[in-house]
């Protein structure tokens, strides 16, 4: 892709996102049409339930797909929605006989389903905020188990709170919905909301945190808050789906929302592909077809003269087998890891004309100085960094070298809040960075890259840089422009639409630096940016870094083992060994320092050869 074509990327992405929403809706509406037209009344009934399942599973995927945490707790929201909407809409007379002990403030509203909906959604929202404030603190498997805990808690409360729910008995008298159009519209609404969220600022943030929590935090994303947003939206939508489900059933009990339902919905989500909205829709459709086919067999049928016996639970077994097959054969689900529909790089979108944007000038960097003072940190008695002090001023590339295990990366981690310092401070413009939460560091314009690549593997190259610009506080339009600026600066325009995990190694290394620069830092900490690059790539990277320092006047702290690379870029070098700073100065000064020579070459040689220094000069100069 040429440079001009790169400028079309934001517009193409926008178009692709809408096409993907349409693709998901197309699958849903198409299936409903086929069901109603081909199978008549039966098909309509199946379609009704399918639409509710689409709403529920898409709601579930809003959390699971974007955070990577499987929730078993969404049955709780569905139960909440069903009971809340049931109580609010139940005819007063029925309510007196069904729920005689219902408190006065809750009884006798007789609202219409639509009239009750805002209240039900509000209840769901509050409950999601409450539970989310706990669950968003947990990660991975612990979070999944906690959601299971939530399901059990709500289930046992539903059984115990008899005055509201009739306990484990059937809760009846809920006005029934039979109007397919109404439910279909609700499902369409949920799909659109889920799609908008997925591609929004908060959707990108939470997906970045899913792919790499440390890197996301370094960009200024607060993973906990991003997860809370996802959980709250997801829970609210699930409450809506639950209310619809309740009105379709007309009568239900706490068991209707327990593990059976949760299992079926998780299967639908995984079968289709958890990480995309289109996947969730496809999963529901596929599982609905499977369920209804198998259900016909469950009662025992006769095939070619052989009567199959009646098997209770055949649907459950077939769901179980379906999910096992999908996980074994297509771990990402039927749709795969991508959203259903064309991506921004699709040929279909070639006709979109680029609009050349005004390239935003980076915020000026003037006199910022990052000062480390007496930083120390030990791990279980090992002193990783001991009393290290030096300055990284704007406008200079400061080298930080030292043998493996010298404490260089730990030093960067101390400055960026990855680790808490035992003693000492890091400050920029009089603001102490030590003690700040790590996602607050970027507010003071200190950005970093990581030693081992930490890209957001599920996002495209463009989105990787875009999310950094958004996290730095740019609005969507400016963030687009900033992302284009950095992709262009690092010659990544041709691969803007590719997913980060499909990129070649050199491009990934450059992308990580582009991502950090999209945050407009005053000070940039680069941890081994040239590691693993060949000499040509290293030279190319050096050229780009020199240009960026000149153009933007930013300060760079450069850690690398390639001394030729470091010598070419840095006018000032700090040397660390065994956690301590052993030398600092111009490259020439550092090269002449006996301690540095000892750290790199070893003591024996220094003592033995008087003329060693000239040899070592060469080694270090290389």
């Amino acid at each position: 892709m040429s440079e001009v074509a790169l400028y079309a990327h934001p517009a193409r992405l926008r178009a692709a996102n809408w096409l993907r929403t349409l693709a998901a809706l197309g699958v849903l509406i198409g299936t409903v049409a086929v069901l109603t037209l081909v199978f008549g009344r039966t098909g309509e009934r199946i379609a009704l339930l399918m639409c509710v399942n689409v709403a529920a599973v898409v709601a579930l995927a809003v959390f699971c797909g974007n955070t990577g945490i499987v929730s078993f707790g969404h049955g709780a929201f569905m139960a909440l929605g069903a009971y809340a909407s049931g109580i609010l809409t139940m005819p007063a007379g029925l309510q007196r006989s069904a729920l005689p002990e219902l408190p006065g403030w809750l009884s006798g509203y007789e609202l219409s389903v639509l009239g009750a909906l805002p209240l039900v959604l509000l209840v769901g929202l509050c409950f999601a905020l409450l539970t989310g404030s706990a669950i968003s603190r947990l990660q991975g498997a612990s979070a999944a188990i906690a959601t299971l805990g939530l399901l059990i808690i709500v289930h046992s409360i539903a059984i115990s709170a008899r005055e509201f729910t009739r306990g484990s008995q059937t809760f009846y008298g809920v006005p029934r919905i039979t109007d397919l159009t109404f439910v279909l519209l609700a499902a369409i609404g949920v799909v659109i909301v889920a799609r908008l969220y997925r591609e929004s600022r908060w959707g990108l943030f939470v997906r970045a945190a899913r792919d790499d929590e440390d890197a996301a935090s370094a960009l200024g994303i607060y993973p906990r808050r991003a997860r809370l947003v996802a959980w709250t939206l997801s829970g609210t939508l699930a409450t809506l789906a639950g209310a619809l489900y309740g009105h379709i059933l007309g009568a239900f009990s706490p068991a209707s929302f327990y593990l059976g339902l949760v299992f079926a919905q998780v299967v639908m989500m995984i079968v289709g592909g958890m990480s995309s909205v289109g996947g969730a829709v496809v999963g529901v459709v596929a599982v609905t077809i499977l369920q209804n086919t198998v259900r016909n067999l469950e009662g025992g049928i006769t095939v070619v003269g052989v009567t199959l016996p009646e098997v209770f639970g055949l649907t459950t077994v077939s769901l179980g087998i379906a999910i096992l097959l999908v996980i074994w054969l297509r771990p990402q689900g039927l749709v795969g890891g991508f959203e259903l529909g064309p991506g921004a790089g699709a040929r279909l979108l070639d006709r979109i004309k680029p609009t050349v944007p005004v390239t935003p000038t980076p915020r000026p960097v003037t006199t910022e100085i990052l000062k480390a003072r007496g930083l120390s940190r030990s791990f279980a008695g090992v002193k990783a960094v001991t009393d290290v002090s030096f300055d990284v001023p704007a406008g200079r590339i400061t080298g930080l070298i030292g043998p493996n295990g010298a404490g260089k990366s730990t030093f960067v981690n101390l400055i960026t809040g990855q680790y808490a310092a035992d003693t000492g401070t890091a400050e920029i413009d009089g603001v102490h960075l030590t003690g700040l939460l790590r996602h607050r560091i970027i507010e003071h314009r200190v950005a970093r890259s990581f030693q081992n690549l930490r890209l957001f593997s599920g996002l495209t190259a463009f989105e990787n840089v875009l999310v950094a610009a958004l996290a730095a506080g740019y609005g969507r339009k400016n963030a687009n422009a900033v992302a284009l600026r950095e992709l262009k600066a690092f010659d990544l325009g041709g691969i803007a639409a590719m997913r980060a995990d499909n990129l070649p190694y050199g491009a990934r290394k450059r992308l990580e630096i582009a991502r950090a620069l999209a945050q407009d830092p005053a000070i940039l900490l680069l941890d081994e940016p040239a590691a693993g690059m060949n000499p040509a790539e290293t030279d190319d990277l050096a050229d780009r870094l020199i240009r960026i320092r000149q153009d933007r006047n930013i300060g760079i702290l450069l850690i690398d083992h390639d001394l030729r690379f470091v010598n070419r870029l840095c006018s000032h070098i700090v040397v660390m060994n065994r956690g301590q700073k052993i030398a600092e100065g111009t490259p020439e000064e550092v090269r002449a320092n006996p301690e540095v020579i000892e750290a790199y070459i070893g003591r024996g040689r220094v003592a033995r050869a008087a003329d060693a220094s000239s040899t070592q000069d060469q080694v270090l100069a290389n």
Binding site: A144, A146, G320
Partner: protein, 295 residues
């Protein structure tokens, strides 16, 4: 005072069951990253092993041994058929796989044996009680505490002093490294499953001896509690799992004994909320597992 001691015994007895189940979950999780939803069905299968062998006229003690064996066989079979092909998959895929295995097994139990509880009649003496210093103490809780202590003691010995045990502990910290050292991965994983099956079998023996019946969901609810216990203790930490098991068991017994009647139905909700509250303060659990991540 009497009541307190009585409750203490109950708490230790219930906590011991949870601890053994949680430990079985934690051993497997620490090595291959599987949170085994089907662990409860291993326990249930052990229960059915006891039931069927008694139906076929085995004496009670032999039936218990057969139950233990059944649980171990089930655990190994599960590993071989469902989880070995998934080696190296992410936590979520493994979790979902075990979820599916669990659902399928439940249907088999329902169709193969019965959807309703089937009775197991042990000798009357087993459910009796004895007197110490004017206190009545049940035989079953006492036996369960003894069995728990012995099991955990033996397991500690295996993990600390036998080669396979040390291999398992090493695998828990860094499985790839262990494989590079030439230890056969399949053997370590199979041993982990066997031990987790054995612990589930012991739990099944104690559970059925105290309750006198088996149903398809028998193992499910105690294993749910054990899940909570492993998370409370710190996922992947073996000591944490045992501690978590006893904490959950104790909380449950205490709430059962001392909660006012009006709140009694909310017991599970209160216990679980308390556990989640602890996790908010210590997201990695009470005794977090050691990991070797670096940035």
């Amino acid at each position: 005072m009497d009541q307190l001691l009585q409750q203490l015994i109950n708490a230790l007895s219930l906590g011991g069951i949870y601890a053994m189940l949680a430990l079985g979950l934690a051993i497997v999780f620490s090595i291959i990253g599987l949170i085994n939803f089907a662990h409860g069905d291993i326990m249930t299968f052990g229960g059915y092993g006891i039931f069927l062998s008694m139906v076929f006229g085995f004496p009670p003690v032999a039936a218990l041994c057969i139950g233990l064996g059944a649980a171990v066989v089930m655990a190994l079979a599960m590993e071989r058929t469902a989880f070995r092909v998934m080696r190296g998959a992410d936590v979520i895929s493994l979790l979902i796989t075990s979820f599916a295995v669990s659902e399928i097994l439940k249907v088999f139990f329902q169709n193969g044996i019965s959807a309703r509880p089937v009775p197991i009649s042990f000798p009357a003496a087993w459910s009796g009680s004895y007197q110490i210093g004017g206190m009545t103490i049940g035989v079953a809780p006492t036996a369960s505490i003894l069995v728990t202590i012995i099991s955990l003691g033996c397991l500690t010995f295996v993990l600390r002093h036998l080669a396979i045990g040390m291999a398992m502990r090493a695998a828990a910290e860094d499985f790839d490294m262990l494989r590079m050292l030439g230890v056969r991965a399949n053997r370590v994983v199979a041993a982990a499953f066997a031990i987790s099956g054995l612990l589930a079998g012991i739990a099944a023996v104690i559970w059925t001896a105290q309750r006198g019946s088996v149903d398809p969901m028998m193992g499910f609810f105690p294993v749910l509690k054990a899940f909570i216990a492993t998370v409370l203790g710190g996922l992947g930490s073996l000591g944490g799992a045992v501690l978590g098991g006893f904490v959950v068991g104790t909380l449950e017994v205490l709430t059962q004994a001392f909660l006012p009647d009006a709140l009694a139905p909310y017991r599970d909700a209160i216990v679980l909320s308390a556990v989640i509250a602890v996790l908010l303060v210590r997201p990695d659990g009470l005794l977090p597992a050691r990991t070797s991540a670096r940035s």
